[in-house]
Symmetry: C2
Subunit: 111 residues, 2 copies
DNA sequence: ATATTCAGGACAATAATTGTCCAAATGTAA
DNA sequence: TTACATTTGGACAATTATTGTCCTGAATAT
């Protein structure tokens, strides 16, 4: 897993390795080729519905693809702050706490 | 630093410790009391402009307040995924890479 | 009982996101 | 070069999310 790559860069590499035109992949995703181009260039974000389609198309794990997508989103969200590491650490503790809390309560009040 | 608290819960505690009504704090922030109530209950998000005002009002570090706010946002964004820890780890590496890259290039292309 | 405070829904305004369409640019092969 | 396919990127519209206000009713305090 190359964590230095953005989702778009990764996607483009996958596509080019298979010599597929944007047009074809876009068609699988049922979106305009221009939109996919923007996703590959990072001007747009992909959404979760695209993940299983892309995973199957390129023969990779959907979870791995999602990992790249979500880490992109998180990174983008806080990269302009100075204390990014601290933010991530506190977020991790918070998530741990919340997941445990909701587990005990039974109700998944996470939306 | 209590990482188990959300930004809103933390804010409410600060306010109640000083026996201030929502109305007064909202006025300092120049927003409707109802909006502040929602922020305290987590139904709305605070924004960065509010941080220095709140920090001064309650005599705490703006950075500490921002830490709680941003970690909240990150946690909220990914808490429904299963592999949250992995996402955070990859995000951290990505940020490290991007910050270093932009440092070297000089241009802060982060927006 | 009256005042104040707070909760929460309905609503409007604004901003952000998502996608399409098209024209220009780029690449590719004959 | 010509012809064709692909990609880029701007303008635009539609949808969705966010933000805040206003108002009513409930709870709390005096």
């Amino acid at each position: 897993m190359n964590t230095k790559q953005s989702f778009g860069e990764y996607l483009r590499k996958l596509r080019e390795d298979q010599n597929l035109p944007i047009r074809k992949v876009a068609s699988k995703l049922d979106i305009d080729p221009s939109t996919l181009g923007k996703i590959e260039r990072g001007e747009r974000s992909a959404n979760k519905e695209m993940l299983p389609i892309l995973a199957e198309l390129f023969g990779i794990e959907e979870k791995a693809l999602g990992l790249i997508l979500f880490s992109d989103k998180v990174a983008y969200q806080i990269i302009e702050e100075e204390n990014t590491n601290e933010i991530l650490k506190v977020a991790e503790e918070k998530i741990k706490y919340l997941k445990n809390k909701n587990l005990k309560q039974g109700s998944l009040d996470l939306k």
